[in-house]
Structures are given as C-alpha cells and as structure tokens.
C-alpha cells in the first residue's frame, strides 16, 4: 500500500510558497515536478561521470555509456518493449512524431493513401501530418468526436478504409482528458493493414502502458511530463519498422561508414540518434522511470481516479461551471478542463496564482478541439501522484472566491 500523503516530501519544489501561499501545482499535463532522486541523478552524473558516450575508451566515457544504456533498458522494461533497440531517445513527443512523419511518412505514402487522426489531437499530432500530405499528396482524415469529447466511431469503417496507411492518435486528450480505446482502434487499423502511432504523452506518466499488449507500431512520450527533465523523450517503434526507415537526421553516431562520396547507416537505435544525445536527460529519465515503477503505475492511476472524481464532484457545485470532456473517470484521465461564465480562463489563472495555485489556461495546444467544443479557451487543472483532495478543497474554494471577486465590480 502506497502512502501518497508522504510522496510530497520527495519533491523539493513543493515546499515553495507562491504569493505567500503554499504551492498547489495543478499544471501536470503541461509538465511535472521533479523528485529529489531525479535531481540527484543529474547532479551525480555531472559531478562524477560526465563524458560523451559510445566512442571514448576512457573510464568516464564507459560509465556515461553504461548509465545511458541502462536508462534505455529501464524504459524498455517500463513500457514492456520486447527489445531495447526499439527505444529511440528524442527531445520529446513532438520530435518523435515529426521523426515518424518525416522518415516513415515520406518513404511510405503515395497520392491515393490517407492518414487518419482524431479531432482530439494536440497540435503536435496534427501539424506534422498536414505538412506530410502536402509533400506526398495523400489525404488527412479525422475521426470525429461527440459533444462529451469521446470519439464517435459510428462511421469508422468509412474513415478507416483500405486506403488508410497510417493511424496516429492520442491515448489521452491533453485538452479535455478523454481516454481513448486505443486497443480497439489498433485492431481496426490492423484489419486494413495500416500502421499505428500512439501519442502517449499524457498516458505513459499516469497509467500502466504495455506496448506488446497494445501491439501498436509506434508509441511516443515525453520525459518532462513523467518527473524527468525537459528535452528528453522517447519514440518506441517495432524493430522491423525502424530498421526499414531512413534516418531522420544525419551526422555523428548514426553512421556505419563514411567516405568523401557517401555514407552507410548504423543499426538501430543509433541510426535515429544523430549527434551527442541528451545524456544527462536520458539518465534523469531512467531515474524517474525507476521511481515511478517503485510506486507502481496502477497505484498512481488509482490515486488519480480518486482525486479526479473528488475534484469533478466538487467543481460541479460551482455556479454555472461547464466541464469539458467525459464525466466517467474510467474514460477520463486526471485532468479537468472547464470554463466559468464571465471569467476568462487567463483571469481565473491569475487569480488562482495569487493564491499559490498553478493551473493552465488557454487552448492547450489543441486549438481545433477547444473551438469544436464551442470555446476559445479553457482553464485546466491536471493532477499527479503528489496532489491531494485537501488541495482540491482549497482550489474549489478559491474558484468560488474568484467568482465573487470578478463579479462584484
């Protein structure tokens, strides 16, 4: 049994006071805070082991290489990837998706083909495909959503057809929290022979993910949303697919042999990790993964279900509030996007900040989704393992205070 009340002690930043109030950090979908073990891993690496990897024969280089490779092994174990070489380190989810679009997309798509995404996507899972179809003259099709922010699969057989070559979809909507039934879509994709990409930026940090069980072809996520540093992320890909793809960037480390006339490519994962990678970031991600595995991803998911139910029920009592996305926490991740009448989300965000509460406001890099749901922006509270129901009480009370503040002019 994990005592989540003590977890807060692992995060030095959560001792901070903001505007004379104890910090309540509800902006975890944007980025998570870092436990001391991750901060120490970075500090230890730079204090004791710093060197470039894979090339040097000296002790520090061997230590740095060992730590980097160990982090990769840990991540493969974390998502149950069958092969360590299927884990490519990138800058984050955005770079992982761009890598797939540029490398796989440009060499596999032709004019009669289509790419299918959903109306729930983050800009990073829309724009790379919009650009790709310009180059390949292929088509981009969307799985629509219902008014509650769940996918409308009524016409799915007309959207995913024999012309569909790629389906790229988010597991969890960063804008409104919907958890998609990706297993079902992957199965449909396989029935037409389409390649599958799962944007797991908002799910890998919060719930158990098993790529072998999902049987997806690619899965992408970011370190910074799962307690690790910024600037490090992951592309998981099936080995045979990664081996068949051309490199994304060219340079050091990704080559096998170079002459003045030409070059041949190294094997995976090196083929996709040109140049000196974010070594410290990878080691930090390894430490974060270790920390999360010790707590247990199902425990974290259960904790977030509890806090999300509590927050949802509390917020429903706020006058006039409109909560976006599904009510059922079986299909809602630990985030709640909402609007309060006559208070713009930015103004609510500034009000809550004056009380020490950090939330996200705006369109959450999901402009088409927020517009489709009839809004220009929303306020978003997103939870993680260190948040508590007590914090939700204070949050709800301050939302009610903001209504008084802005309406008593």
């Amino acid at each position: 049994m994990v005592d989540f009340k003590t977890i807060i002690k692992d995060f030095p930043i959560l001792k901070r006071r903001i505007n004379e109030n104890k910090l309540i950090y509800f902006d975890n979908a944007a980025t998570s805070q870092k436990p001391k073990v991750v901060i120490d891993a970075l500090s230890n690496f730079y204090s004791n082991n710093n060197a470039n990897i894979h090339r040097g024969v000296h002790t520090l280089s061997m230590e740095a290489t060992y730590l980097y490779d160990e982090a990769k092994e840990k991540i493969a174990e974390f998502i149950n990837a069958p092969n360590n070489n299927s884990i490519i380190f990138t800058r984050g989810t955005t770079e992982s998706l761009n890598l797939i679009a540029d490398s796989w997309g440009q060499s596999n798509l032709k004019e009669s083909d289509s790419i299918v995404i959903t109306e729930l996507e983050h800009h990073s899972n829309i724009v790379p495909w919009q650009e790709l179809i310009k180059k390949t003259k292929s088509k981009l099709r969307y799985i629509p959503i219902n008014t509650d922010g769940t996918l409308n699969l009524a016409n799915i057989n007309n959207i995913i057809t024999k012309n569909t070559k790629l389906i790229s979809m988010t597991h969890v909507s960063n804008g409104i929290g919907t958890i998609n039934n990706i297993k079902k879509i992957i199965k449909i994709a396989k029935s037409v022979g389409a390649t599958t990409v799962i944007d797991a930026a908002q799910s890998v940090p919060h719930m158990p993910i098993d790529v072998s069980d999902l049987d997806c072809d690619f899965l992408t996520f970011s370190g910074h949303k799962m307690l690790a540093p910024t600037g490090i992320g992951v592309l998981y890909g099936k080995k045979e697919l990664l081996e068949s793809m051309p490199p994304y960037q060219k340079g050091g480390d990704m080559i096998l042999e170079v002459t003045y006339d030409k070059a041949t490519w190294n094997e995976i994962p090196f083929k996709f990790e040109a140049g000196t990678p974010n070594i410290a970031g990878a080691i930090g991600l390894g430490a974060a993964t270790n920390y999360l595995m010790k707590i247990g991803m199902q425990n974290i998911r259960d904790h977030e279900i509890e806090i999300t139910k509590y927050a949802y029920n509390n917020l429903m009592n706020v006058d006039g509030i409109e909560i976006l996305g599904p009510e059922n926490t079986d299909i809602r991740a630990g985030l709640i996007s909402f609007n309060i009448p006559n208070i713009h989300p930015h103004d609510l965000g500034t009000f809550l900040d004056s009380k020490g509460i950090a939330i996200r406001t705006g369109h959450h890099c999901a402009m088409p989704l927020i517009k489709k749901l009839g809004h220009h922006s929303s306020a978003r509270a997103s939870f993680y393992l260190y948040n508590t129901n007590h914090e939700v009480d204070k949050f709800t009370a301050e939302i009610n205070n903001s209504i008084k503040y802005f309406n008593n002019v």
Binding site: H344, T350, S354, G362, S377, Y405, N408, V409
Partner: protein, 146 residues
C-alpha cells in the same frame, strides 16, 4: 471589491469595469479599414472596424475575445485613437508599447496627453506574462494601420 490583495494591483477596479463594458459595440454600416490581431498562445483576439474621413478615425466598432486585461486595453486604445489622424497614431502606439517594453520607467510621463487615460492599466507591467494581453491590440494597430 469583495477582497483586497495583490490582485488589485493587476485588476484595478477601473480596468475590471472597462473589461465588462469596453464600449465601441455599435456595428458600422460600412467599413473603411479593418484590422485584426490574434495571440496564438492564448487565443485572445481583436477585430477593429474603422470609419475614416480625410485620414481621421471617425468611428470604431470593436469585436473582442479574451481576458479582462486584453478587453480593457483594447477599449483604452480605441478611446485614445478615436478622432485622431492615422498619421499620428503610429507614434502614439509606439510610445505606449515602448513604455511596456522598457524596464524601470514606471514614472515616465507620456508626450501624448491622451495616453494618460491608460494609467490604470500600467500596473500590469509588474506581471510579465500578462503584458502581451495589454499589447495585443496596440501591436496590431501599430503594425497594420499604415
């Protein structure tokens, strides 16, 4: 106000009142000049519809979407430039934008006396992230009126 705290520094009562009623809400039967602005990071949006006579702004219709600071600032801008010649407006906007983009000039006096009505919004300068809310409309006019 129901409570007083450091928020009142950002949301002065006059700013909140103006954000609720920014004015300039009558649509124009014909539009001589249209200028819009959008902050892609937050979705704040402004649409200015102008009537011009001999390069003077004779009427303004304002469409606003966004936060209180953006709405109030846009309303103040409309009030400042109404009845002004478009050849003078760039200088007025430049003076206001420079005030927000220059550090340590809180006591600066504006050369254009009409800018004095913007005083209640000057304290937003202390909140770095919200300066863009103040300046969206001013930048749109500065960059597009000529």
């Amino acid at each position: 106000m129901s409570e007083k705290n450091n928020l009142d520094f950002v949301y002065k009562e006059e700013i909140l009142k103006r954000s609720i009623n920014p004015g300039f809400s009558s649509e124009l039967s014909k539009v001589d000049k249209f200028i819009s602005g959008l902050n892609p990071f937050c979705g704040d949006e402004v649409k200015f519809h102008f009537n011009l006579s001999h390069n003077n702004i004779t009427n303004i219709y304002l469409e606003l979407e966004g936060c209180a600071i953006h709405k109030a600032s846009s309303s103040l801008l409309a009030e400042v430039i109404l009845n002004e010649n478009i050849n003078t407006i760039q200088k007025v906007c430049d003076e206001f934008i420079s005030f927000f983009n220059t550090k340590n000039n809180s006591n600066q006096k504006f050369q254009n006396h009409k800018l004095q009505i913007t005083n209640p919004i000057h304290s937003v300068k202390s909140n770095q992230i919200r300066i863009k809310c103040v300046l969206l409309s001013w930048n749109a006019i500065y960059n597009n009126l000529f």
